[in-house]
């Protein structure tokens, strides 16, 4: 119940921020199983349940069935994509393209085939599909076939399970209730994640909702990470002390066992 309350409160703040058609008759009321993901020492992935309902004052309009798209995005960072070519008999990195901004994690779950439930123009506007979520201003003129670099970025991250497109995994009940589960992989990086929910009818986005998910290291992970960045010299010395005492300890144990 509290989760829903928080979600409602968040909704009140998040909604005005999103540019929506003025004629929005339907609204999203959403909640999720957790809005904090704690990365502990034995973290090996997590699953977030995202659910909600459509709030409307009138009966549903007849402009096509209601479809739902849910996205979860990690923090965006620039990425350099390099391509290898054969030079003098060996494979060498030659061309490089800097992609201005790509999310570290991006999952899209939909209630139907993405191309059918979302028009290209709304995809461009809300940046929903994976290629649209990546911002690339363009490659230098010297690089041929620069689109291949963005495709390679998506391919490599998809293979690592970082970019996911799960079609037909959002269940919609009687045009009102919906729910889905998004799996977060074990190789997650920390940061502020964003969950977005879009309602579409006839390929047009009619309502949107955005919530933050806080992904953070906790406990020992947090402590080590902070120490390494705030007191690097102490961290380095600690590493050496641990290494030398482990070496000495093993030697002493073996000597004791043999005698």
């Amino acid at each position: 119940m509290t989760v829903r309350l928080i979600a409602l409160l968040l909704l009140a703040f998040a909604l005005p921020a999103l540019a929506l058609p003025a004629t929005a008759q339907e609204e999203v009321v959403a909640g999720m199983s957790q809005n904090r993901v704690a990365i502990t020492a034995n973290f090996d992935g997590s699953e977030i349940l995202i659910f909600g309902a459509v709030k409307r004052d009138e009966p549903p309009p007849g402009t096509g069935p209601l479809e739902v798209i849910v996205t979860v995005a990690g923090p965006s960072k620039p990425v350099i994509v390099r391509r290898k070519e054969k030079r003098f008999g060996i494979w060498v990195n030659t061309d490089a393209v800097e992609v201005d901004s790509a999310p570290s994690f991006y999952a899209v779950a939909t209630s139907g085939p993405l191309s059918e439930i979302l028009k290209n123009i709304d995809d461009l506007r809300y940046k929903i599909s994976i290629p649209r979520a990546i911002r690339s201003v363009g490659a230098p003129m010297t690089v041929q076939n620069s689109r291949a670099f963005t495709e390679a970025l998506i391919r490599i991250r998809s293979q690592k399970g970082l970019y996911l497109l799960d079609m037909n995994t959002v269940q919609v009940d009687q045009e009102t209730l919906f729910n889905t589960a998004i799996a977060l992989p074990a190789n997650l990086t920390e940061g502020a994640y964003t969950a977005r929910i879009f309602l579409t009818r006839g390929g047009n986005v009619i309502a949107a909702h955005e919530t933050k998910i806080d992904v953070q290291k906790v406990g020992l992970e947090r402590w080590l990470f902070n120490l390494a960045h705030e007191l690097p010299l102490a961290y380095g010395i600690l590493s050496l002390v641990i290494a030398i005492s482990a070496g000495w300890g093993a030697s002493a144990v073996f000597r004791y066992l043999r005698s």
Partner: protein, 304 residues
């Protein structure tokens, strides 16, 4: 059992890491090489980011070398005087090497140059050691054959001579200093302790007895890798303590076992095994450069 590494930001199997540490530890104890040329590629292979793999590999080598050197100390198989001379050269070389590394990074192509270094040096050293130890084994099998006496060469006519009692040598300190500098440069560029270059250099260039070489090399590696760990921790924050601890628990146990195995084997056998291992790693890296990779594209963070 999965473990999430706080600096590398990946989740890996703890037993796999333990095993890698153990295997590298055994080799380290047997041959007196730090095993950096094995552990760094192995960590890449299981998905640890290269910067973290290089820095944490160095931390692990401190532990396994320290564990190994204690055993050699007990056997009086460490030439402290020679070790110190090599070390002075090594730290100088390592500081130089870091400059070269940064220069290469600003040009790009660091991974290619590091790989080429690996292929060239592992190839030369592995090939030389293999043919030499094969000849030594064949010679010892021939009945009535006498071991060849150590020849005096140009190295013995250099000035600044010093007595190295443990090694039974009376030579100039210039060759060990030069060897130390060269190994230091290579160590910084390749992200290794340099044992696989140091060991053959001590045997073939300085003429040190094999039994002393291993302990002296380990002694020197502790300091070079310790220096590298501190440099990486303070400049790049890429030392992952969680990764290091799991690796080094395996590593120190392995080093103890390896030292026991090593003391039971003949020097020629040890050398031929090390040569084969070096050649295998060299071959693997050479193939990576020569064959078309399945994925032509690679990702890198901006600023790396």
């Amino acid at each position: 059992m999965q473990i999430y590494l706080p600096i590398a930001e990946v989740s890996v199997n703890a037993f796999l890491l333990f095993g890698i540490g153990g295997i590298v530890g055994i080799l380290s104890g047997m041959f007196g090489v730090g095993g950096g040329f094995l552990i760094t590629p192995l960590l890449f292979f299981i998905g640890i980011p290269p910067a973290v793999a290089v820095a944490t590999g160095a931390t692990q080598l401190v532990a396994s070398s320290f564990s190994g050197v204690l055993v050699h100390f007990k056997r009086r198989a460490v030439d402290l005087r020679m070790g110190t001379v090599l070390l002075i050269g090594g730290v100088t070389g390592s500081a130089l090497g870091i400059q070269v590394f940064n220069l290469m990074r600003s040009v790009g192509q660091v991974d290619l140059l590091v790989k080429l270094f690996y292929v060239v040096f592992l190839g030369i050293i592995g090939g030389l050691m293999f043919s030499e130890s094969l000849r030594a084994i064949l010679r010892s099998r021939k009945p009535g054959a006498r071991p060849v006496r150590r020849k005096h060469n140009w190295i013995h006519s250099l000035p600044l001579k010093m007595k190295f009692r443990t090694s039974g040598l009376y030579i100039s300190i210039i060759p060990p200093l030069v060897v130390g500098v060269l190994v230091g440069i290579l160590a910084a560029i390749m992200g290794v302790g340099g044992g696989f270059i140091m060991v053959p250099a001590m045997i073939y260039l300085l003429g040190m007895p094999t039994k002393v070489v291993v302990g002296t090399s380990l002694f020197q590696i502790i300091f070079v890798t310790g220096f590298t760990t501190l440099m990486h921790a303070t400049t790049n924050q890429t030392v992952d303590l969680a990764l290091a601890v799991v690796l080094l628990i395996g590593g120190v146990l392995g080093a103890q076992i390896g030292t026991q195995i090593g003391s039971k084997m003949k020097a020629e056998q040890l050398r031929i095994l090390l040569a084969l291992l070096v050649l295998a790693v060299c071959g693997k890296l050479a193939l990576e450069l020569l064959l078309q990779p399945t994925e032509l594209y690679s990702l890198a963070e901006v600023g790396q």
